[in-house]
Symmetry: C2
Subunit: 242 residues, 2 copies
């Protein structure tokens, strides 16, 4: 039986979603919980990595198991064995050819910036103490929308297609908080954090608002802004043709 | 010179405010930062303990130092050396007879309950999955107000005065969140958590709403509710005659 698992996690204490040599990944913790339930070695396949310190509301994975539990019992059993910073939202039986990574059609990421330091949210939003010109950031944001080669907004991408389509990009301001969201058919390594870092540098006046177009055209990473910190980043959801 | 320090901290990663043999206290971390600034061994005296996992918006301490810095420079220097989960709000010079514990006149504690589990706030609010009758809790809450012997709502209190006056007690509901606050001339060990635990047991129908009066009169801890968990508790402020 193949199962699709939707899981949320607080990435603060993990070295990213995937297994790491140098630290614990969320994936490994879920596999350990599955082993405790099924007594079978079970590999999970995620829709993609998230970096160290990055969070998820709805990461999607699949796994195969000969154990046949009711969907709600999978969820209950997993949440019993998982630590409190990883919570399974749902487990559903899917066809054997479902693939969490290859069949992902759309993903949404959100990035939360605050201009007021909050001790209790220090791992869950990125504090920026510079004044930001939000109007300029909004204008530049629109240049990301569409099908582009995002090579200049990524890092460590070798021999992989770098053309992605961003369907939607929004920036909302709520008091001291700024939330920037992207819906795309896929994202490259460090892509959201590079885009957000560039927008921050535009907002504080370090980069011109035309830099987005320039980096997309030149594919020159060195022209873009700094990679934004991981703590503000959330994988919101992954969508499939279903 | 004597200084008064107001500090906020996220207690999640500490074994309480005071130095502990078995784990790191917030106090010790502040003393280490003071040593890094002044190169003097400096003891701080807090307004009182907070338990392991309990937070503070405005804990107050005093310390003596031969080092004479501007008030704003103390704050900046301390925040440079302190970890991100402890933030100094202010440092002010006070008279030599100011005492953070003996001269405290009023303290406010708040306790945050949620009825919707939030992964990202698991260390900062207490999740209750039982339905709660908030009206009953509000009624019982009023019985705490006034001057009473709170021995029955404390633990490990030996040879200390147990009569305290609660000036104000409030319960506010906001969606899934319930915030219970107490302003008093002082609190005994585990007092707020015992009072809140009793209110929770009243809200879920395990205890009668008259139990508050009964415990205050009988001083019988065994009749009260369970001690509520630490993660929802915040020391809001400490006031002095100034």
């Amino acid at each position: 039986m193949r199962y699709k698992l939707i899981v949320s996690y607080d990435g603060s204490n993990y070295h990213g979603f995937q297994k790491q040599n140098n630290g614990l990944g969320v994936e490994e913790v879920i596999e350990t919980a599955l082993f405790q339930i099924t007594k079978e070695e079970t590999n999970i396949v995620g829709s993609g990595r998230t970096d160290r310190g990055v969070h998820a509301y709805g990461q999607v994975c699949h796994f195969d198991s000969s154990v046949n539990l009711q969907e709600s019992n999978w969820t209950k059993a997993l949440n019993t064995f998982l630590p409190s910073d990883i919570r399974v939202i749902s487990v559903t039986e899917v066809s054997d050819d479902f693939h969490a990574r290859f069949h992902a059609k759309k993903k949404k990421y959100s990035y939360v910036i605050t201009r007021k330091y909050d001790l209790f949210k220090r791992n869950h939003q990125t504090y920026i103490h510079y004044p930001l010109d939000v109007r300029l950031m909004k204008e530049a944001l629109m240049d990301f929308v569409g099908k582009h080669d995002f090579y200049g907004f990524s890092t460590y991408v070798i021999n992989k297609p770098t053309i992605k389509e961003i369907f939607e990009a929004t920036l909302t301001e709520d008091g001291d908080k700024i939330v920037i969201s992207f819906v795309a058919d896929g994202f490259l390594k460090y892509m959201v954090r590079s885009m957000v870092g560039t927008l921050i540098d535009i907002g504080r006046g370090k980069l011109s608002k035309d830099i987005v177009k320039e980096v997309l055209e030149s594919k020159d990473r060195s022209k873009a802004g700094k990679t934004a910190k991981p703590e503000g980043l959330y994988l919101e959801y992954v969508l499939y043709d279903e």
